[in-house]
C-alpha cells in the first residue's frame, strides 16, 4: 500500500500528512513534486493544506494548472482514492473534481481552532468506520473555508449523500451558532458522486495523536486503510 502527498510551492501541511500516514499508520508515503507527471502505483493521493502559489488569484486556482494535476485528474477519474485537505479541498473545487467553491470566511478572519464535526454519510471509503451522527473534534485553520454552491448542486449533494461532515456543537447539533465560517448548510467536507474524492476544510492529520489534543482524525485514515485492505 502506497500513498502520495503532493507538494505545491506554498504547501505547508505536507509534512503533517506524511507524518500521519507513515508514522502513525505505517503507510509507505512519498512526497510528489507538483512538476512531476505520474502517480503510477499509488493507492491514495493527498492534496495537503497550505497556501499553494501564495493563494494568488483565488485559493487553489493556480495549483490546478500544475503539471501533476493532469495525473491527479486521470487518477481520480480512474477511481483512485483522493483526499484534499484545506487548501487541497480548494484545489479540488477549482479543478472541478468536486462541486461548489470555497470563499472568504463570513467573518473575514482567519480561524485556527478545534471544531466539532458531525458525520453524515458513512457509505464511502473515508468514513466507513464512523457512525452516522458521530461527533469528531478536528481543528480548522483557514481564511477561505466558506463553502458555497447553487441550490441545484446542494440538492444533488444531499440526494447522493455526498455531504460527509458538517460543523456542529459538542452535542452534534448542526446550527448557525456552530458554523465557523458561513458555509452553506454548515458543510465542512463533501465527496464526489463516484465517492472516491473527498475534500474537507478541517485537518484530520492534526488530530491523529492524543498529544495533539485529539485523535478523532484517525477514523478517516483507518477507514481508508480498511477500504484499501478489502
Amino acid at each position: 500500500m502506497k500513498a502520495a502527498v503532493i507538494r505545491f510551492p506554498g504547501s505547508n501541511c505536507d509534512q503533517d500528512c506524511h507524518y500521519a500516514l507513515q508514522r502513525v499508520f505505517g503507510i509507505s508515503t512519498d512526497y510528489v513534486w507538483h512538476k512531476d507527471s505520474s502517480l503510477k502505483g499509488y493507492d491514495l493521493v493527498v492534496l495537503p493544506g497550505g497556501f499553494s502559489y501564495g493563494d494568488y488569484l483565488r485559493c487553489g486556482a493556480i495549483a490546478r494548472f500544475s503539471p501533476i494535476m493532469k495525473a491527479v485528474t486521470d487518477y481520480a477519474n480512474a477511481g483512485g482514492l483522493l483526499i484534499g485537505i484545506c487548501n487541497g479541498f480548494q484545489v479540488l473545487t477549482e479543478s472541478r473534481l468536486l462541486p461548489g467553491a470555497l470563499v472568504r470566511n463570513r467573518s473575514l478572519h482567519f480561524i485556527c481552532e478545534h471544531r466539532f464535526l458531525r458525520v453524515g454519510a458513512t457509505d464511502n471509503p473515508f468514513l466507513n468506520l464512523a457512525q452516522p451522527g458521530q461527533v469528531l473534534n478536528i481543528p480548522i485553520a483557514h481564511g477561505e473555508g466558506n463553502y458555497t454552491a447553487d441550490q441545484a448542486t446542494l440538492e444533488e449533494l444531499n440526494a447522493n449523500r455526498q455531504i460527509l461532515v458538517r460543523y456542529c456543537d459538542a452535542k452534534g447539533t448542526v446550527s448557525e451558532a456552530a458554523n465557523p465560517n458561513g458555509s452553506l448548510n454548515n458543510i465542512a467536507g463533501i465527496c464526489n458522486a463516484g465517492r472516491n474524492v473527498f475534500g474537507l476544510m478541517p485537518h484530520p492529520e492534526r488530530a491523529c495523536e492524543a498529544r495533539l489534543g485529539s485523535e478523532d482524525g484517525n477514523v478517516i485514515f483507518q477507514s481508508i486503510l480498511k477500504y484499501l485492505k478489502n
Binding site: A61, T93, G100, A101, V103, R104, R106, S107, L108, T148
Partner: protein, 79 residues
C-alpha cells in the same frame, strides 16, 4: 493589443469583504451607501495578437481568471 478583465462575485454569492467595507463607510459618516461589492481588475497586454486572440482570452477568463461557480467576468478589448 490590450485587454481589461473585470471579475466580480456573482450577485447570489455573499461578498463579506464588500459588506465589511460598506459598514466601514457607514462608520465614516456615509450610511446612505447600501451596498459595496469588491472584485478584481486585470490589465493584459498581448504581443502579436492573432485573429483568435479575443476568443482565446474569453477561454482564459472562463477557465482561469474567473471561477464561474462564484464569479462573473467582463472582457474589454482596448485596441
Amino acid at each position: 493589443m490590450k485587454a481589461r478583465v473585470t471579475v466580480m462575485p456573482k450577485k447570489s454569492v455573499l461578498d463579506p469583504q464588500g459588506v465589511a467595507v460598506r459598514d466601514a463607510i457607514a462608520h465614516h459618516g456615509f450610511p446612505q451607501i447600501s451596498m459595496v461589492r469588491i472584485g478584481k481588475v486585470m490589465e493584459i497586454e498581448i504581443d502579436e495578437a492573432g485573429p483568435d486572440a479575443e476568443a482565446r482570452l474569453h477561454e482564459i477568463c472562463a477557465d482561469l481568471l474567473s471561477n464561474p461557480v462564484i464569479e462573473d467576468y467582463v472582457l474589454q478589448i482596448e485596441g
